[in-house]
């Protein structure tokens, strides 16, 4: 309990620091949201700045922002999407990113762990070599190249899947596979080396010498232990995949959070940038806390202390 509490406190202080750093970084960025092609009259600029509280000293701005965020979960108004709040934009686009990320994560975990276990069991055989060659290629492939090839093959040449947008189930297929490829490759490599390490340990030899069937040894004794290092990377990985990928959302024109963030950056939409960054950091922190709790489930030794 003590450990969970101290984790929570350190997570909250991390988030506060992240908010502060992002805020500072945005204050250093030259140029403001109202530097359009034509200069605005000074009185209009002044009233706009007053409306978005940009005329106050920076620490007051930060404290007001944090107060609204913590007390009312209010991310403030968007500067460029007139009449919409950052909260509404996030509420619209976050589910899209989460859905895509969720599918991709499932694809990655299922295929990556399976491939890694098979490679470890058939160590040194052709299956191991081809699985690991696949995995190192998956890590090395830039996602836009995979996306380009997928679009050319399935959308243009075969014409069976759409090349972009996010309407029906058929729109989910290509982005999910392209987004899942790299995490799947990383998990496959990690699972393989983790399983190989466990296979050499004494308790596995004991289990084997007791005459247990190889299948039982693998699934009951090896995998449970081999999963611990995998779990460690799964936290940050889930956070990156769940929040969607900038490149994937851009390439497939998916109306997710990352696309809005890029819009926000080019528009200097400070509240939007702040909101999305804090949200990303929160998701990462939550994923890490979850993984921390899951350690105890997978490995009873970690429940105490």
């Amino acid at each position: 309990m003590n450990r969970a509490l101290s984790n929570l406190i350190s997570a909250l202080s991390t988030l506060f620091a992240v908010a502060f750093l992002t805020f500072l970084l945005m204050k250093i960025v030259p140029g403001g949201p109202f530097d359009g092609d034509k200069a605005l009259p000074p009185e209009v600029l002044a009233s706009l700045n007053a409306k978005f509280k940009l005329d106050l000293p920076w620490y007051t701005q930060f404290l007001t922002y944090m107060r609204d965020l913590v007390l009312h979960l209010d991310f403030g108004p968007s500067i460029k999407y007139i009449g919409r709040s950052v909260g509404e934009i996030i509420a619209d686009s976050l589910p899209v990113s989460l859905e895509l990320g969720f599918y991709a994560l499932i694809v990655a975990v299922v295929s990556g762990v399976t491939l890694g276990v098979m490679a470890a069991v058939y160590r040194g055989k052709w299956l191991d070599f081809s699985a690991m060659f696949l995995a190192i290629s998956g890590i090395s492939l830039p996602s836009f190249l995979v996306a380009a090839l997928a679009i050319l093959a399935f959308a243009q040449y075969l014409g069976i899947l759409p090349a972009a947008l996010w309407d029906g189930p058929e729109h989910r297929v290509l982005p999910t596979l392209v987004l899942g490829l790299r995490p799947a490759a990383i998990l496959a490599r990690l699972t393989r080396s983790s399983v190989l390490e466990i296979l050499h340990l004494d308790f596995v030899r004991t289990a084997r010498s007791k005459g247990l069937p190889p299948r039982t040894v693998l699934f009951v004794h090896v995998l449970r232990n081999a999963f611990i290092p995998v779990l460690t990377v799964l936290g940050p990985m889930a956070a990156t995949v769940l929040t969607g990928s900038f490149v994937i959302e851009y390439v497939f024109s998916i109306p997710g959070l990352a696309n809005h963030f890029i819009q926000g950056v080019s528009n200097r939409d400070y509240p939007l940038i702040m909101g999305v960054t804090i949200l990303y950091a929160t998701i990462l922190v939550v994923c890490n806390l979850t993984v921390d709790l899951l350690y105890g489930v997978v490995d009873p030794r970690m429940r105490k202390g």
Binding site: S10, T14, L15, A17, V18, L21, T22, L25, M26, I28, V29, P30, I136, S137, I139, S140, L141, P142, F144, L145, A148, L149, I151, L152, Q156, A163, S193, L196, E197, T240, T243, F246, V247, Y250, V251, F261, I262, V265, S266, I273, V276, T277, Y280, A281, L284, V285
Partner: protein, 268 residues
């Protein structure tokens, strides 16, 4: 050494030569436009075809190699150097200093790296300086953690204690007695940092937030090609394949070095 590693070393050596001698190798000028010959398919006078402005794609790939490799090498070296110094100080001093220094790393890790890169690019501008700071700012965290753990595991060994007992200054103990033992993992770290940075630069350019054209990097070439993907796919695929092969080679070399240099991983 297995053949993929040998092939990878050969390929990287080839790329380094291409990058160094780009003006000699490139058949045309990288910004030479010939609109009447735009979107040419691969042909005898343009091996990889031409782009929307009739510029020779092979030439631009050769110069792109120069830019992408230069950015990746320089930023990888600077991130590893910064991480090394930071981690060494934290690990050696220990106690409260170490705790607070590592807390800073934890916080920075919580910021999504692509977001940090984008914001840094906004501060420093979309030029070589901007991309250098952006990639270094996000790249050094891993090395710092690694280095701290390394120094922690070495600083209480008897030979370091002996050096301390002889009254050597801290700086000498770190530089002459601890650092040489940490070189192997740092080299491995460097060999993984380079492909990471190649990819990060390509992503930034691809999203239109990297360095500005006409300076060609592989990322910029992919982005320019993407606009006409369904009609002229070679403009996206050639730069993409260049990035892929380079990343693949560095990853093969990195894996090889890790297996060779890390005694705990021997035989895995």
């Amino acid at each position: 050494m297995k053949w993929p590693v040998k092939a990878s070393i050969g390929f990287i050596a080839f790329l380094v030569l291409v990058a160094l001698f780009a003006p000699v190798i490139a058949p045309y000028d990288y910004d030479l436009q010939n609109v009447s010959n735009a979107y040419s398919s691969p042909a005898a006078n343009h091996w990889f075809g031409t782009d929307a402005l009739g510029r020779d794609l092979l030439t631009r790939l050769v110069y792109g190699c120069r830019i992408s490799m230069a950015i990746a090498f320089v930023t990888a070296i600077s991130s590893v150097a910064i991480g090394m110094v930071y981690g060494a100080i934290a690990g050696y001093l220990g106690g409260f200093v170490e705790k607070s220094m590592m807390r800073v790393i934890d916080i920075l890790y919580t910021l999504p790296s692509l977001i940090v890169m984008i914001l840094v690019m906004l501060v420093f501008g979309r030029n070589l300086v901007g991309i250098f700071v952006a990639l270094t700012a996000t790249g050094w965290l891993g090395t710092a953690r690694l280095m701290r753990a390394q120094v922690n595991s070495w600083k209480n060994r008897p030979f370091v204690e002996a050096a301390r007992a002889l009254g050597l200054p801290h700086r000498n103990i770190i530089l002459k007695h601890i650092l040489p033992n940490c070189v192997a993992p740092l080299i491995v770290e460097l060999s993984y940092q380079i492909p990471t940075n190649i990819l990060a630069e390509a992503f930034l350019s691809f999203l239109g937030i990297g360095i500005r054209p006409p300076m060609p990097s592989w990322g910029i070439l992919s982005e320019e090609g993407w606009r006409s993907l369904q009609i002229y796919p070679h403009l996206t695929i050639f730069p993409g394949v260049c990035i892929f092969l380079t990343m693949l080679s560095f990853n093969f070399i990195g894996d090889y070095l890790r297996d060779r240099l890390d005694p705990f991983l021997q035989g895995r």
